[in-house]
Structures are given as C-alpha cells and as structure tokens.
Subunit: 336 residues, 2 copies
DNA sequence: GTGAAAGCGCTAACAT
DNA sequence: ATGTTAGCGCTTTCAC
C-alpha cells in the first residue's frame, strides 16, 4: 500500500494525500476526511525510508550507550526515551560495548540514518586524551552531540552532568567528620566521571590531612556486577594487612561487594565498617542495612539534556554545560 | 556527498560505486581500490534512507519492550542486541510502556521502517483474549514476530520461553516438601508468563491437597520495584491475621519486599519465613541472606530466539515454539 | 485547494 | 567488468 494506492482510492492526487499525511492546512476539511477514511480503512502507514529521503529531518535522535543492562545506563536510556517520545522524537538505540573502535563505527552508522542529534550516555565515551575524542569532534560537525554524565568542551557538543567531584568530596568529608580516616576507595573506571569522583575523594583526604591515603585507593579490574568477586578481592586484600574502617565506592555494586566482605569477616556494618555507594540505584534498598549512596539526580539530568537538545534543534542558543549537584542519601551503612 | 559525486571523482559509473559499496565480486580489484580511495578520502557514507528504499531488507530487527529499565527486560534486550549484532543485524529499540494502544502504535511505527522481523520482549505483549492479540496477527502478515518469554500460536509468530508453569510447580513443591504449607503467592502481572506461573503454583498446591490456599494468592497492584511499599503491603496484610511461613514471588523485587517485611517483623529468614523469587536477577545476591530464585535461562532463550529468527529469514522451516526448563537456584532464603 | 512533475540517493535489471 | 536506466515512495515546488 503506497501513497499512489491511497490517492487512487480517494480520487485525489498523491500531493493531496501527502498534504493530509503531513497535516498541511491547505486541504479542504471534506477532502481531508475523504483521504483519512481511506488511510484508516486500509491501515496505511507511509514508508519511512521514502519519507526520510525527501525530508531533512525525520525527528529521530540516536542514543548510544555502552551496555543497556547496566543499572545506571538502562535507567538513563529509559528516561531519555520517554522524554524524547513525549516531545515527538523517536529514538534509535545502539549498545556499543566499551571498545573504542566499535563505538566509532556505531557513531557513523547511526549518523547515516540522518538522526537529528546524538546522545552519548555515560562518561565512557569521553577519553582522557585528545586523540581518543577526535571521533566526537568529527561527528559534531554534522549533528549536535549531547553528553550525559560527561563533559567535553567543543562546538556543538553539549554536556549534562552531575558534579561528581563535589559530591564525592562531600561524601568523603561526611565520613571523615564521623571520625573514620582509613577509608578504602574502590573504583573501576577511569572515565570522565570516574576521574572526577576520585579527584573529589583525594581532595577531601588532603583537606583533612589524612596521611598515606593513596595506598587505600584501589582500582578493581573485574566486573563490578559480580559482587561476590568483589568480596573475594577485598578478602585477599585484608590478608595483606591493609586495614580500613570505611569504604567509598564509585558504584553501588562495588559497595555491595564490600558489605559482603564485611559479613564474611564477621564485621558489623556500619559499626565496624562504614560503606558509601554511588548512583543511588535500586540495589541500595535491597541490602541490609540499606546502602548510603550518592544520588546523581539522573532524572533531572535527562530532562535537562532533552530540553537543551530541543532548544539546539530549534536554533536557540543553549547552555553548553549543565551541572547538577548530587546528594548523599543517608541510609543504614553509615553512622552519620 | 552522494554516489554521483563519488562516481564522478573516481571516473566510473554510479553502478560501479554501488557495487563496491555492496561488496559485489564483479568489480576488478583495481577499480575497487580506486573507488574505495575516493570514498575514504571524502569520508562518504551512503544515505540509509535512499538505500532502504531500493532494498528489500536493511538487515534490521525491531525490538519492542515495555520498560528497558526493568532488570529482566534490560538484560534480555542487551543479549538480543549483542546476538543480532554478531549476526550482522542492527536493532531498533522502542520502549512502549504497558499501554495497549501505545504498543500498537509502536508496532506500526517500527514496521514502517521496513524491519526484517520484530521481537517482542516480555510476556506483557500477549493478552488473554483474542481481541487483544489482533494487532499481532495483523503485523505477522508482514514480518515474522518473535516472542520472548511468551507464546502465541499463529502463522509467522515464533515463541521462545521458559517453562514457567513447571518451574513454578517445582519451586512450590520444594517448599511444600520442606513442610511449609501456608505459602503466600505474591504476583503482579497477568501476562502470559504471569498466568503460567500462577498455574504452576496452584497445581502444586492441589497436588499436595493444601486446604484453602486461594486466600494466600495475592495480586500486588503497586510498582514491584518499590520494595518498601511491598513490605508495607505485607505488614498491613499480617495485621489482618493472614499467617504464612513461606513466600513465593513472581519476581525477585517482590521477594525482596517480603524479606524486608520479615526483618521489620523480627522474623528470621529462612527459619521463620522461607522466600523464593523468580528471574534469578542480580538482586538475588544483593540481599542477606541471598535469595533463592528461579533461573529462567535468559541467555539460552535469547540465543535460541535469534537463531530461530535467522533461520526464518533465510526461509528455513523453524520450530514455532522453543521451551526451556527453568531451574531453582537454591540460596539462603530457603531451608531445603 | 488541488494536481502534475521534478527530484531525493540508491539498487538492480538489463545492456554492452 | 562496467555503464545505462528504470524504478523505490515520498515531499515539494510550480502551475492551474
């Protein structure tokens, strides 16, 4: 069923059908109804490809994320999808994995679909050196690039993020103020936000003149979602006489791993060990005691990101960078 | 930059460029190289819309799921995406929400993109009466429909699922055999698999001649992910003198809610209350004790689904229905 | 207000 | 092995 079939059945030209389809006001109501009836009767839907060819925009946004099964990313994608949808945009999702070359390919692939803009979800799309980020510069020449939870200063690139540095700084200070100085910092990513968080932690330790804190900063290599493995890792560590009475993790699952470790060691949380997670995911309320965690206001972020994008697409001047402060949600794994 | 520009610069016809682009073997290597060089030099990417118009297939599969932030669905989507990708297919994801009309719209929308097949993730796409499922019949006339975790017998509709009936039957029997008869069955969906699970539970109760079990079958109306609310719900219930020493839930979060309830009441899990969840999600290892749960072999399912789809697309005759048995993963919330 | 006709960029059948 | 050309289904001038 094509526009020709419909026009024939309705006794009008294809131009008129097209006008009805696109809501032009230059169609007599009677004609419109006649055409609409046929369209509905035959359940006709215009071919998106043919349509996209003529059109400049097809009201579609490309969303790239490394792993849609990650709790944080999945939620972000969901919010974005909903927000875009309610603004009349469709979204095209690609899960790229964490490999740089594959990410590049996907970016080009999604670009060839004539998307109006691209959202990169998660800070893992931004590398630390210029060369790594070249592919973003290239693409930004064609469509606006929106970064969620990352920042990159370049024309036509817009960033929306949580102030992870300050959030982590404050979370750390809370723990220090509670008298815990031997804090283990557990992280698993050197992404943009990963670096910021670590920076915040270090700054807090410096500000409190904690001696020798670097030895308690640990990069966890494995899959953080395997919380038992995280616990194993910490057990091995404690045998090496590295003592700690607090754990701050860059992600909730790592924090849960620390809680598992504590349980195995017969340590009480929070009396013997305080734990703070990050992301305020649903995991925080699954464990006992419930996990104190930093909320990075994901929903606020996604909302703002889409608003900025819509503005940009309408040619308005929009802020290049929107930063929201995070918030420590105090639950049962901390005494303060 | 179009195929015409490239052909001009390379001094060949557009047909030759097209052949190079599509990897035809009827191009002399020298010609191919000449064209490729130009393509790379100008960083040319063919227009996907123009391409899609000519082509019959664009190697794209539409994936519909109600809510990509649901732990189970997110994981399913992820596996599917990876599997399709490694077989040379792209995927187009839409999150539809749970409203029937919106789901229908999305189906049509995704169809208009000329996808080669459509995967409906989660049993909430299949209703209990014929009329609800009409939209699936309509679409199946055009492309194969793959159902994950649901079943619907109709031409060109293929189902891949876990034998939820038997899995739930066996899980229930395990608990009954352990001497617990007053089991609370907590569920929140009357979807295809929801109905199967409940059926399995009932059958087990019948088989053990448990009296009066219907009064302990409870439909939870709220959002199961809000586990505190689930606990509240159960507290209200226990005040109404409904006693139970076991909880079987149709989803892990509901089971976690039950564990929260137990803790508030000062009940020990599993000594005073046994709990079984469903889906074997990552939540099962977040709580204490860890949650016994039914594993529905999601990865096996998604693998099989994609294999079946690929077969169908190649015109092979494939099984209309693939059923895998689930498995009870015993952890700390049960004594058996 | 409506129709005729010229593209949009590509694929594929056909011709050479 | 390569070129020519007719569509694919739609949008959008430009006439009427």
């Amino acid at each position: 069923m094509t526009i020709y079939d419909i026009s024939k059945k309705a006794g009008v030209s294809i131009a008129t059908v097209s006008r009805v389809l696109n809501g032009s006001d230059k169609v007599r109501p009677a004609t419109r109804k006649k055409v609409m009836d046929i369209i509905e009767k035959y359940d006709y839907t215009p071919n998106a490809f043919a349509r996209g060819m003529g059109l400049h925009s097809v009201q579609t946004i490309g969303i790239l994320c490394a792993d849609s099964s990650d709790l944080f990313l999945a939620k972000a994608v969901y919010y974005l999808e909903q927000e875009l949808q309610s603004n009349g945009y469709e979204s095209l999702l690609c899960c790229t994995g964490y490999n740089l070359d594959i990410k590049k390919n996907y970016l080009n692939l999604i670009l060839s679909k004539k998307v109006d803009g691209i959202i990169l979800v998660g800070s893992n799309f931004i590398g630390t050196n210029e060369e790594e980020n070249q592919y973003i510069k290239d693409v930004s020449a064609q469509v606006p690039i929106m970064l969620l939870n990352a920042s990159f200063d370049y024309p036509n690139v817009y960033s929306t993020l949580c102030d992870d540095y300050t959030s982590m700084f404050e979370a750390t200070v809370s723990m220090l103020d509670a008298g815990i100085e031997d804090i283990l910092y557990l992280y698993n990513s050197n992404s943009y936000s990963g670096v910021k968080k670590l920076g915040g932690f270090r700054a807090a330790m410096e500000a409190h003149s904690v001696p020798d804190y670097e030895k308690r900063i640990l990069f966890y290599e494995g899959d953080p979602q395997q919380m038992d493995d995280v616990a194993n890792y910490l057990e091995r560590l404690s045998k090496k006489k590295l003592s700690f009475h607090g754990v701050i993790a860059s992600e909730d699952p790592l924090a849960i791993g620390a809680m598992k470790y504590a349980r195995r060691q017969g340590l009480c949380v929070p009396e013997d060990l305080s734990v703070i997670g990050y992301n305020n995911s649903m995991l925080t309320t699954c464990c006992t005691p419930e996990l104190t965690s930093v909320d990075n206001r994901l929903e606020t972020q996604t909302h703002q990101l889409v608003q900025t994008l819509l503005g940009v697409l309408q040619g308005e001047e929009m802020p290049k960078k929107s930063i929201f402060s995070g918030k420590l949600i105090k639950r049962g794994t901390t005494l303060f």
